[in-house]
Amino acid sequence: MNALIVVPTTTWYLMLSAVLFTIGTVGVLVRRNPLVMFMCIELMLNAVNLTFVTLGRRLNDIDGQAIVFFVLVVAAAEVVVGLGIIVAIMRRRSGITVDDLAELKG
């Protein structure tokens, strides 16, 4: 009876975070709205956080959770600065996509 109960292994969690990271990558490549691209970057960060926690449990080490704490703080700071830049750009030229920001093109 006990053999029938399937327990999710480390590989399952790692595959889930790989799928989540891939979805985030494809979103960044496909979408043109800078806000939605930022959300896709958050998806990728969350996939990495899930990997850290999973391997922290697998390796029986609390450091995996400690580094997720720092990733959360850096992600919050990154979102604040990134949204500030987006607001500053959008205020000058409304309704643009990332394809319109090509001033540095030679």
Binding site: P8, T10, T11, Y13, L14, L16, A18, V19, L20, F21, T22, I23, T25, V26, G27, L29, V30, R31, R32, N33, L35, V36, M39, C40, E42, L43, N46, L50, V53, T54, G56, R57, R58, L59, N60, D61, I62, D63, Q65, A66, V68, F69, F70, L72, V73, V74, A76, A77, V79, V80, V81, L83, G84, I85, I86, V87, A88, S94, T97, D99
Partner: protein, 178 residues
């Protein structure tokens, strides 16, 4: 039981992530992001990271997504994005190829490296297993405030820089000043 939790949380995460990528409306994408973040929090609880699950809900779902919604509201960019037309020729196709190859690469790395992972470290105290109900928070705190206290202090500098930078970026230039 853990299998049931895993399947439900996986469904939440995948549906939310696909919603972020495929929804035309930015507000709908932000709300799909909340679904994914809650799914990740459930995964944290399932892996005995109770404190991180609470922080995930408070910081991500409570602060970051609200910030996204505020910016969407502030800028009035909530018009529907036309997903039918392709801005760059062949972009979707190449993005699909890149995504598939990235997923294949990650899956190959996971399957080849899964056996080489060996357990080390001092062990993780859990709220569920241990006698002490605060074991996870106490162990995490002793790790952050002893082993990684330098990184913790640098984090405070980073937050100050982010706040000052954002205030400077979003300040409206007044006439007469540079």
């Amino acid at each position: 039981m853990e299998l049931f939790v895993f399947v439900c949380a996986t469904a939440m995460i995948i549906v939310g992530a696909l919603g972020v990528v495929l929804r035309k409306h930015p507000v709908h994408a932000a709300l799909s992001l909340v679904l994914t973040l809650f799914g990740i929090a459930v995964m944290f609880v399932a892996q005995h990271a109770e404190f991180l699950a609470a922080v995930q809900v408070i910081v991500y779902a409570g602060a970051i997504v609200v910030l996204f919604l505020f910016v969407i509201m502030l800028l009035g960019v909530d018009q529907v994005e036309n997903l039918k037309t392709e801005p760059l020729a062949g972009q979707r196709w190449i993005a699909g190829v890149v995504g598939a190859s990235l997923l294949g690469l990650l899956a190959a790395a996971i399957y080849t490296g899964a056996d080489s992972v060996v357990s080390r470290g001092d062990g993780i105290a859990s709220n569920v297993v241990g006698d002490n109900p605060d074991a996870n928070i106490q162990q995490l705190a002793s790790s952050i405030f002893s082993d990684y206290v330098m990184a913790f202090e640098v984090t405070s500098i980073l937050l100050v820089v982010a706040v000052v930078g954002t205030v400077l970026l979003s300040r409206r230039r007044t006439a007469g000043k540079s």
